[in-house]
């Protein structure tokens, strides 16, 4: 049978809008099944708040299967909470104990301004992808899919990077608010593939420079990898730096000609 946790105290960040200063509010959860997910616990809280005539806590969530990347939350100071390789929506209450105080905050990063309560604006990620996180292949002109064989280890490495769900935990966990893990995962996904070679150098340059406009700088803390719900490796950051360095030469025609 499922067990119940009792007497939880939630310290939740409430902020009515981008211009509000924001503050913590404490709420009590008398009892919750350990089978409940963390977000279901917040659902219960919200039902209670509505019952009391109060405004529900705003938080981003959608698939609740750990794949859409919509959910977020700093839980006791950890992005996506205490369980490694797990997004908040897949975190369950059995990872917590009765009588515990749990601090719930939004992603903390200048590049992700708070919209309301626990919801932030992550559209800077979209700007990075729009700058170069694609392969230019307009619909209709593609050659047969088996025309270019791709070695399995290459396809697998590309897939390892492509698993990124774009949740922003890497940025939230980084002391500098850097987006290098996110950006490098997208760069690596495409730069590893034969189809991605034509735009390899312009891609990495455009993406890194757009990233730098919005986010802080990477100083190799490695917090991003630890927080990533898909456990994406910081090796991809090294690969991105290498490609960026090369691109700076290759994209300067005069130097490249020497």
């Amino acid at each position: 049978m499922s067990n119940h946790l009792t007497n939880l105290t939630l310290k939740v960040w409430r902020q009515s809008g981008p211009n509000d200063g924001g503050h913590f509010e404490s709420y009590r959860i008398d009892s919750i099944s350990d089978e409940a997910s963390f977000l279901e616990m917040l659902d219960v809280l919200n039902e209670k708040l509505i019952g009391d005539g109060k405004e529900a806590v705003v938080f981003d969530h959608d698939c609740r299967e750990g794949i859409c990347g919509t959910c977020s939350l700093m839980i006791d100071g950890q992005a996506h909470g205490p369980q490694r390789g797990t997004a908040t929506c897949q975190l369950h209450m059995r990872k917590f104990q009765s009588n515990q105080e749990i601090v719930i905050e939004p992603w903390r990063a200048t590049a992700f301004p708070i919209v309301k309560d626990l919801m932030v604006d992550r559209s800077a990620f979209d700007r990075i992808v729009e700058a170069g996180g694609f392969i230019t292949a307009p619909t209709g002109g593609a050659p047969d899919a088996n025309l270019i064989p791709i070695a399995k280890p290459v396809a697998d490495a590309s897939m390892d990077a492509a698993e990124c769900i774009g949740c922003g935990a890497c940025v939230a966990a980084c002391p500098n608010g850097a987006a290098n893990l996110f950006t490098s995962a997208k760069v690596a996904h495409l730069n590893l593939l034969p189809q991605g070679q034509a735009e390899r150098w312009s891609r990495v340059e455009a993406m890194v420079e757009t990233m730098d406009e919005h986010f802080g700088s990477c100083t190799n803390h490695g917090e991003c990898e630890a927080a990533c719900p898909k456990s994406i490796s910081i090796d991809f950051i090294a690969m991105m730096h290498k490609d960026y360095r090369k691109a700076k030469f290759k994209n300067r025609r005069l130097i490249a000609q020497i």
Partner: protein
């Protein structure tokens, strides 16, 4: 009065699409920029349509209620995408994929549309590989395939257990490029709240900004709804939390016929509900049934743990009832068998609401290593959710709503009964008949968006060149805006006692109990008697806290639940009127002695398209007869 003209092109089935393309009207490249197209939704269908239309030169506005187009629920598809590539030389062909899809849909889909789907399936794989989708490869570097239910060939392309994610990211990246180039304007966190019809054609949409609550109009020459399915009417489903029917339903209220709402698909292998707080159900890939054995205890009062129950006290009911297919019996049949086992009191788990999917035999036979290699990521996911290790304890599974085959009625051009208004992907009804085969949803979304709409929209727009269309200052837009503002204010003003989620749960229970896996005339009539009073209570006793001028997820939910209520009534009506069993629609009165669905081709070989009359309980039913010119109607047997 709704007119259902499917506009299937003339000619042999294999030539219809080519004939259409030869005859269709074109818009000159320099004139395309004079046309604006609105795309609502950014999943596979929406992102691929928007990107392609923008590449062609149209002005495109994309609307999504998500923070980013990449969040759309297409992302959660696990298994794969079908295509008739015949890369394995195992006898696949366009015709075979066409045939399998028609048969899988229990002969309730339109031949012309389905054949086109099979034709363009091969282009999808080419396009997605060109976009950089890292599909699984063999050691030689060529693409790998796996087999899936309802097919005797290996035609499913996949990217680990995240095929939907990778395809969506491919389409999203293509869309992002067009946004970056300024060819597409993206409106994120913006929800459609109405469609506007002026002089008999769709003139645009009214949207609500989910950050500021502002209501605004957008006019366009054509509008495309790629807004997904309505599985969340059941409250508990495998759909994402935000999935809703609002866009399709609002279009329906403006004159778009809604087709076959009772065709919903139940997936047999989901993790059962754990407690009353549960907000959604999670699907476990059907591939698990290749090695797992399904069973329940023989006795309803069994108290021992699974490993303590000896073989003679176990009922491997699928192997017993369907010896030839065993644990791989088709989705609908396995689902109903699980329901019967649980209904008989022999369910397992703390709430006795599941059946075992046991891997101990496979682990003994193959070794733990092989099982881990095949299903490792699924086992991990199960453990995260259920808190039990499936290597030691059998998984518990139960069926859950997963996909909806019904949707807005569309013709061959994917146009609804409102000229200028299109529906694509799961939002339309067109390709899967009464049951969708695994790995075909991704295929349809991308087929519609990449390879159908970009052609058919041009055919509609060409004659509109240099003709004026109504702008957002037209009184009809203003009236729709006023209506939308009043609607959302009304939810805030009721100030009752129950939250939108409370009503949603109650609605879901009724729909699941009476219009779920197994339906009866009596049950549906009961549902139709219980729904209106509950809906009335919703309108009188709803409580939405907060205000309408900033992000308010309770208010958003209220609007969606309102529309789910109306759809729920139509679903039950549709299920009641369809006096046969077919695919996902199983009426207990219509089954053969083996419990298989019994179709009535004489009276029901048609699409039921419902016309809005102001009250879903009194909607008008129209029929589009299905003509089978190529495929012979036959009993759907997998024996």
């Amino acid at each position: 009065m709704v007119e259902l003209n499917a506009k299937i092109p003339a000619g042999d089935i294999a030539e219809k699409w080519d004939n259409y393309k030869s005859d269709m009207k074109l818009v000159n490249p320099n004139n395309k920029r004079k046309f604006k197209v609105i795309v609502v939704g950014s999943g596979l269908a929406g992102a691929s349509a928007a990107a392609t239309l923008a590449e062609l030169g149209y002005q495109v506005d994309v609307f999504t209620f998500h923070d980013s187009p990449r969040r759309a629920h297409s992302i959660a598809a696990q298994g794969g995408i079908n295509a008739a590539k015949n890369y394995h030389g195992d006898g696949d062909s366009v015709h075979r994929l066409f045939y399998d899809t028609i048969k899988g849909g229990d002969f309730r889909a339109r031949e012309g549309n389905v054949h086109r789907l099979a034709q363009v399936s091969v282009n999808i794989i080419d396009q997605m590989v060109a976009q950089g989708v890292p599909f699984a490869r063999e050691y030689g570097g060529l693409l790998d395939n796996r087999s899936f239910g309802g097919a005797q060939v290996s035609r499913t392309f996949y990217a680990r257990g995240q095929t939907g994610q990778q395809l969506l990211l491919g389409a999203y990246q293509q869309l992002a490029r067009q946004i970056g180039l300024g060819n597409v304007r993206l409106f994120n966190r913006t929800e459609l709240v109405d469609t506007v019809v002026i002089d008999g054609r769709c003139a645009g949409i009214v949207v609500r900004d989910l950050i500021t609550g502002e209501i605004a109009s957008h006019a366009a020459h054509a509008t495309v709804l790629c807004t997904g399915g309505y599985g969340n009417v059941f409250f508990l489903s495998t759909n994402a939390m935000q999935c809703n029917v609002t866009a399709a339903w609002r279009a329906h209220r403006q004159g778009a016929a809604f087709a076959n709402p009772c065709y919903t698909q139940i997936h047999p292998t989901c993790i059962p509900q754990a407690d009353d707080t549960q907000s959604k159900l999670t699907l476990m890939s059907e591939s698990l049934r290749n090695d797992g054995r399904v069973w329940v205890p023989k006795n309803a009062d069994e108290t021992r743990s699974a490993d303590q129950i000896p073989e003679e006290d176990r009922d491997y009911y699928l192997e017993r009832l369907y010896p030839s297919f065993g644990n791989l019996a088709p989705r609908d049949i396995s689902s109903r068998a699980a329901k019967r086992a649980v209904d008989s009191g022999r369910g397992v788990g703390p709430l006795k609401n599941g059946v075992y999917l046991d891997f101990s035999a496979a682990i003994n036979r193959l070794g733990k290593g092989v099982v881990q290699e095949r299903y490792g990521n699924l086992f991990e996911m199960y453990e995260r959710i259920a808190g039990e290790n499936p290597y030691d304890v059998p998984m518990r599974i139960y069926p859950a709503t997963h996909y909806t085959m019904g949707g807005l009625w569309v013709d061959y051009e994917l146009m609804t009964t409102v000229p200028g208004l299109y529906a694509a992907g799961e939002a339309n009804f067109s390709d899967h008949g009464a049951n969708r085969l695994g790995a075909s949803a991704l295929m349809q979304g991308l087929a519609d968006g990449y390879f159908v709409l970009p052609y058919t929209i041009g055919n509609y727009l060409a004659p509109m060149l240099n003709k004026s269309t109504p702008g957002v200052d037209h009184p009809e837009f203003k009236a729709a805006e006023t209506g939308a503002r009043a609607r959302y204010q009304q939810y805030l003003d009721i100030k009752g006692t129950r939250s939108p989620d409370w009503f949603h749960r109650e609605l879901g229970k009724i729909i699941w109990d009476y219009c779920g896996m197994e339906r009866t005339e009596q049950g549906l009539e009961k549902a139709l008697s219980e729904l209106p009073p509950l809906y009335e209570e919703f309108q009188k006793d709803l409580r939405v806290t907060g205000d309408g001028a900033s992000t308010n997820q309770t208010l958003e939910k209220a609007g969606r639940v309102d529309d789910f209520f109306q759809l729920g009534m139509l679903m039950c009506k549709d299920a009641l009127e369809r006096n046969e069993s077919c695919g996902g629609h199983f009426r207990a009165e219509y089954q053969d002695e083996e419990g298989e669905a019994q179709r009535d081709d004489e009276n029901f070989a048609h699409v039921a398209a419902w016309e809005w009359t102001g009250d879903p309980m009194n909607a008008t039913r129209h029929a589009e007869e299905l003509e089978f010119e190529t495929i012979h109607l036959a009993k759907r047997s997998y024996k």
